[in-house]
């Protein structure tokens, strides 16, 4: 399906904010993602997955420029048509606990929509976001940590969660290293946690079996069984 690009501006270092027109009948849950076909050529061949940060007037996506596909994506202009499939994946599973959102880098994106959703339901949540540096930050809410100390607290965002106990439930998304550190912290502090994972994807809806990750219940598909998983399930 195609929709119209309404905005595609740089909002932080290598980070862009893509807004798409909401197609008629489009439904989504926070935590889901779209698969974008970047151009009409066979290179890049496969669609690329991007979390839906939020949907209201527009579908909002934040993306980081990494390689082949995202380097082309950034040249889209207002008014261009873009080809998507989805939304795919499960929404975040809502827990009846004190809620914390913890994101690192571009992994903050899917949490924006979750925050927005929780606010709309009057559910209180605490947000902790980490970036390498001030120039990488693209959110204007939540407590911030930066590795170089240029914004918020100096250090890893994981450090900001030291005070949590088992009354909390964390939704986390970010680079592998951060997620692993969070898992150790969760083990230590006893809070529960869902983490949103990434994997190379071909289809996005469970047919290629390419996006498997290893869990204590065998291989699972990030696209269909996730992208969020209970952290205790993951075998790193």
């Amino acid at each position: 399906m195609k929709t119209i690009v309404l905005n595609n501006d740089q909002v932080a270092k290598d980070t862009y904010y893509l807004q798409l027109q909401v197609p008629e009948g489009f439904k989504y849950e926070p935590g889901q993602f779209l698969m974008l076909k970047i151009n009409k050529l066979n290179e890049p061949l496969l669609r690329r997955p991007f979390s839906i940060a939020k949907v209201d007037e527009t579908i909002d996506i934040y993306y980081k420029v990494i390689g082949l596909g995202t380097n082309i994506l950034k040249s889209y202009k207002k008014g261009d048509l873009i080809d998507f499939t989805g939304p795919f994946g499960n929404g975040f599973d809502l827990r009846n606990k004190r809620i914390v959102l913890c994101g690192g880098g571009i992994g903050v994106a899917p949490l924006i929509g979750l925050k927005y959703f929780l606010d709309s339901k009057n559910i209180t949540s605490h947000c902790f976001f980490g970036f390498n540096s001030k120039e990488d930050c693209f959110v204007d809410f939540g407590e911030i940590a930066t590795l170089d100390g240029s914004l918020g607290k100096k250090g890893s965002v994981v450090d900001l969660l030291e005070d949590l106990d088992n009354s909390f439930h964390v939704y986390a998304c970010g680079p592998k290293g951060m997620l692993k550190a969070l898992c150790e912290l969760a083990d230590r502090k006893g809070f529960s946690m869902d983490i949103s994972l990434e994997s190379n994807m071909a289809c996005g809806f469970g047919v290629c079996l390419g996006c498997s990750i290893n869990t204590i219940n065998g291989y699972k598909q990030v696209c269909k069984d996730g992208p969020a998983f209970n952290y205790t399930e993951i075998i790193w």
């Binding site: 066979n42 890049p44 082949l68 047919v207 290629c208 290893n214 065998g218």
Partner: protein, 303 residues
């Protein structure tokens, strides 16, 4: 009006467009995009007697105009397939083809024999590209004698249409096709993926969990097309062409090379309804060329 209907042994297909094993799940997943009953047929993912976990991740990576996969034939096994998937095909008006494999001949034969009982199944596609445990891991499909014995054995226990899916990783694919023909296979499909790999220069290790993977997608279509072309000159049974088909022009090239039907694989991931577009594209080509029957196109490039 042009005729798109094709026949294979005692089966009729609405049109020559099938979807390739491993790229179309159990079929039903694609119903969210279009009515899969419009396809010539659906080849479901590789089935084995017992459930299989598949290979460790990462399992896929993109390559120039292609992709590598090392899924490792993950599947739910016969029992669950029969109880959960098959009933859903009662109401789907297209030919269901089940792609099967085993690690030794006995496993293939048992599986084929048991699948023979289900009326929802039109045909079996025998995947001989998987490693042969008894022969030390080399694929069944690389040895014409093994293919002959395997297919002959399957034919004894299964009277459904038998299609043999050949691997391109051989010196002479037509030789293997001939072995399948001698064993009374009803058709051959070619090609499966080319073996390939990618190394991650950051970790300095093979990128895929399984090291090697199968290369598919547009990149490989000239190779598949050539193998269909040369096999067409060496066998009399129908050929089903597969490998890198991403639009109607490439599909027509395969038919001109000698394929009676074609399969769409990797392109299903990129464009879930590409197979419908290709059916329409073949129809339009025939109209433009004023050819009234797709069967008349088969092998024309040899004239």
């Amino acid at each position: 009006m042009v005729n798109l209907e094709v026949k294979l042994s005692n089966l009729r297909f609405k049109n020559p467009v099938l979807v390739a094993s491993g790229t179309f799940g159990w079929g039903i997943e694609y119903n969210r995009f279009f009515d899969i009953g419009l396809l010539g047929g659906v080849i479901v993912k590789g089935l084995s007697l017992n459930p299989r976990q598949g290979n460790p991740p990462p399992r896929i990576v993109e390559t120039p105009c292609g992709m590598l996969n090392s899924i490792g034939l993950q599947n739910i096994g016969l029992e669950k397939f029969v109880s959960e998937v098959l009933p859903q095909f009662d109401s789907i008006r297209t030919n269901l083809i089940v792609n099967i494999y085993g690690s030794e001949i006995g496993e293939f034969v048992e599986l084929a024999g048991r699948l023979n009982n289900y009326k929802q199944i039109a045909a079996l596609e025998i995947n001989v590209s998987c490693p042969n445990v008894k022969a030390g891991g080399a694929a069944f499909g690389k040895d014409p004698e093994v293919v002959f014995v395997l297919i002959s054995s399957i034919k004894k226990v299964c009277d459904k249409t038998i299609i043999v899916k050949l691997t391109p990783n051989v010196t002479d694919i037509a030789l293997i096709a001939q072995a399948a023909q001698s064993a009374k296979a009803d058709a051959v499909s070619l090609i499966n993926t080319l073996t390939g790999m990618i190394i991650d220069t950051k970790t300095k290790k093979p990128f895929l969990g399984n090291k090697f993977g199968g290369l598919s997608g547009p990149a490989i279509y000239p190779v598949g097309l050539k193998m269909v072309y040369e096999t067409y000159e060496k066998v009399n049974i129908p050929i089903i062409g597969v490998g890198g088909i991403y639009n109607a022009d490439v599909a027509v090239q395969y038919i001109l090379a000698g394929a009676s039907m074609i399969q769409i694989g990797t392109a299903n991931f990129v464009e879930p309804d590409i197979s419908l577009k290709i059916i329409e594209g073949i129809r339009r080509y025939l109209e433009d060329e004023e050819i009234d029957d797709v069967n008349k196109l088969v092998g024309l490039a040899h004239n």
